[in-house]
Symmetry: D2
Subunit: 347 residues, 4 copies
């Protein structure tokens, strides 16, 4: 911590700050310049609240000199973290596609979805079983039953399963059916849940809260990692701004920023990031162009009759077409994506 | 729901929208104007996502004609809800003061706090036992032990107890010690927790999420009320904006807005709303001037040595002085606050 | 400027930063701590862009140690600036009320307005002659003709005149009719206009831009003051946030913050700050409770037929009633406001 | 305009609204549903403020049924507007690159810049002569002299010139030297300037204000178009959010949204959109992937010694490399960009 005293600070002011710091167990390194005195502060026990010092007489500014996150940062680990789930590598050279409906609606529905998802080149089947709905009167999901259907549909097509868990009490059961645990934007700072995930032997996809800063997203990742689980995937899904044309404003710049601050894989969710189907495709392309390690996309065999979020779900054809565009773009960033479907050799 | 077709919409466009609506079980009332056709849509089952219709060809705008909340709204209940907890009335003519430290730090500390809190005229003792901290490495609170200390300190001074609960698993135990269950800003959309609170026979103070709209706050109250618990207190505690001088921007205008949309009591938390001691007093005054039914204020017998949020905690003297200012202001809004301390009659 | 090197910075990194600084004419004071090296940077010519150093290898953080504004800051002038315009003192103990219609609509209209404005105890007549309208198809104001009407109406009632000027070409003419030049939120960073105002011998009321930080508002005041005109009045009028219930979110906390950072008077505009009549009164009360030096309020003798902003204009009775409430609140902050109307002594 | 009455509105309420509307010259089409009465409102003179009706008793919601902009909208013109400036087509199939330094610093500097800008495949030379600086103490640009240098440098290399004009008084002179007039973000709602531009026979590049909604950007375009000048280029350059890691949050989704609402060309400025060099390249790629018609990029032959914004300026090599990546991405959106440099035919 660096404390910059005001140009008008008196000797008594400076002395009072130094005493307060010493009392808290800090070592102080004082340097007196032409106009300002600067105190370098080292040691002490535990986290410090800079505001405690900002309030003291004569103090101009208090600056933290280290980021509050450790394990999630590039300083802790220089090379990119690659999470390998039965051969599917997230954070590696290949951009990973996760797709599927907003909610699991029925056994047959999710089996149908899994087929076209597989065909598109995706590696992971997404779908909600426990749904966080802003109205208590809306469809709340099929629960564990939904997870079972997903597992079955995924297994039939050689896909992994990702699904959101909202309550730590659901974790033990959910662990049997899913490969990646999704933490939703509204739970990004549900510390009880995050702490529990630190003990789980499963990768976690952590969505950025609607108004979370990049630093706060990394601190939430730190919560999970501090418990021992280092397999965290960060996910940008749109932030809240004054612009009301879209549900959220997708912060594409968060992708390269997160990649430079952290070694963790970074995924983009253009479906929630925009909330409207015809903007999903351009924003998916933009995410890959900006360096995303993967995409989480809502797609449905019949979006017009989806029980939730149909308006932001792609039709199977649109998903297919998007993948073809992404195949071109991924070359511009020296990456690959879903290998081209095998062609039947007719000769 | 009202669907306004574009001026350029064709007869086929209109027909397609009508068919889609009929298919979903709606009754349609079509009115053809000089330039636009407008469809009034009635009935149907369950919540509707307006975006499903916005995407159809020829549709200009889709407007919900009823608020998504019912029980929390003024249409459901015209008169103000007054919550009576052993004689302390929240939402009535008297403005209720809730004060105390950020965290319960020790048995002796909270007992000392309860004394000066009582002296100030406050009716409720606040204090955190389960602390939501953005760093996994910070002090996380004393847990149930802290609640016991609070109960004892409150009882000694004839105060009620308010404390935050973050996890539904802690509710049964917490119920024994606290009078008002606080839901923190980060949990405003923790639907699992909200649903559980709907079954609890205790008032709930629900804090507005850092970037929650007023409508979303009311929807979260609706979650609790839909379960049967109608004793919900709304709390404005600052929203996130681009301004970085304060931790949050306290949205004082939310107070009169909530009072006009809802019958529930509205409380303000200027401590978290500003994050810095010397701004707490002016914002507390502003909250009462704007019509708040109460205040939730952090105060500590020794803020310089508080384990958390010392920088935004008032000194006991400041709390006393604030109450005196509020006594004047409350007259301007035809309210009362903490009756003046008894004067010793020397004769 | 303080440059904090990363814990992992090499000697070469540090050397490179030092060389770059030296090249730019800075003196460097290097202090090597246990984990970080910190460079204190003094001197150099002109403003520095900290980003130039943030990009260098090994640099952790770059901190400005002085605010970019000088003349507008408390360090430049400790005591409050009081602007005296023919006996009306802005920034003194008496809270100054400025009221009137959004636009000057006609000669008779503004004369009628001036009468009830005077009666309320206000000292300044507000009214727009040059209107910034977001639609090119809306009423754009009466121009210079409107200013003449305002002057006449104000003179008849012993009031001062405040009106917005949008273009520096209109200044010479406008100077003849108005006492306080208003700069609108949309022009807060119209540097051409600000620079010109620096040469004018008239006080300027500078509104905070819709998304301007407090620091930026002070920098815009600095622009005017740097030209020699030190009579600047700051005005909070609502900022843009995600909340869409009101037009803007009035940032009441900006009032005490501006008062502590700057010696300039601070005025609040609850009419634009909320955009809707029934929220103007509570927010006016809150502004005074938070320490505002004055209020700028839209009021109209017949708001239902106003040519602009009728929805946020008070009725004459409401203005009167507000002043009575403010008279009580001003005592809580040791201020006065419009002295009570004389009582006829019947005996 | 559609007025939806509350379910609880009385017959008297409805009658009062109808009378008010009739008085204002509107025709009303009343439709009474099972729960709500809906009033369709047609005709009347001039722009209407919906808030005037929201305040009336019994009114639930007031909805505008037409966008406030006309000329800028897709309804006015279905096909894309292509602006042809001496053969350079903006808004056509080829993505247009505009590049150059933040400020024109010297005659030799801009001549050097023009050379590498041309080499990269750009068609337009950018550079600031009149600089809007947030500090009155910063470098303010070379003024008309700077424009002359730009013109010369551009002519030597067969480039067009774009430069920002802040004051309408500078327009007549500037017109001699520049091909595209740039309106900066801070002047997006400088209506005096916009109106003047409506009379100019030159294309205008209009930057989105820092906190302007998409609708407001289109309304500002409307101001220019209403004056007769239909050659407006829209430019996304980042909006202000709570995230402080970058200067602005670039709203990439505004690109496809603007393209669907308006027929005008849409350009992206990733330099101001991010404010830091290493994020410019990924955001430039994202912009093209999202459908931008062009890019406005700061590049400098020696960014380390630039007089302004060096930290966000690309090195010539980086610009070259970016164009190569964009060449790949443009194929994914069926566009072209700067044709590959001619290869020397060795035979």
């Amino acid at each position: 911590m660096i404390i910059v005293m005001n140009a008008t600070a008196t000797t008594e002011n400076i002395q009072a700050v130094v005493e307060r710091l010493t009392e808290q167990g800090f070592d102080i390194h004082k340097s007196t310049g032409a106009t300002h005195t600067v105190l370098g502060v080292v040691g002490g026990a535990g986290a410090v609240d800079p505001r405690n010092y900002e309030l003291l007489d004569g103090v101009g500014e208090v600056v933290r000199i280290s980021e509050p996150y450790k394990l999630a940062g590039r300083l802790f680990r220089k090379e990119d973290t690659v999470i390998d789930i039965r051969g599917v590598k997230i954070g590696g050279n290949e951009i990973v596609l996760m797709a599927g409906p907003c909610s699991v609606e029925s056994r047959s529905g999710i089996r149908e979805a899994a087929k076209f998802v597989k065909r598109s080149g995706a590696k992971v089947l997404r779908g909600g079983a426990f749904k966080p709905r802003s109205s208590p009167y809306s469809f709340q999901g099929l629960g564990v039953e939904g997870l079972k259907y997903m597992r079955e549909a995924a297994d039939e097509n050689g896909l992994l399963v990702i699904s959101e868990i909202m309550d730590r009490m659901d974790l033990p059961t959910a662990m049997k059916y899913i490969d990646i645990i999704q933490v939703g934007a509204r739970n990004m700072q549900n510390y009880t849940l995050l702490r529990e995930l630190g003990n789980m032997p499963k990768p976690v996809l952590l969505k950025r809260g609607m108004s979370a800063t990049i630093k706060e997203l990394l601190m939430s990742a730190e919560y999970i990692m501090a418990g021992g689980n280092h397999e965290v995937i960060l996910c940008e899904r749109g932030i809240r701004t004054f612009e009301s044309y879209t549900r959220n404003t997708m912060d594409i710049s968060a992708i390269p920023i997160l990649k430079s601050l952290s070694h963790l894989p970074v995924i983009a969710d253009p479906s929630h990031g925009t909330g409207i189907r015809d903007k999903v495709t351009p924003m998916a392309r933009a995410s890959v162009a900006a360096g995303a390690d993967g995409l989480l996309i809502e797609a449905h065999q019949d979006p017009d009759h989806a029980l939730s979020d149909g308006a932001q779900s792609l039709y199977p054809d649109q998903l297919q077409e998007l993948v073809e565009q992404l195949r071109i773009i991924s070359k511009a960033v020296n990456r690959t994506i879903a290998p081209e479907p095998e062609r039947i050799n007719v000769s």
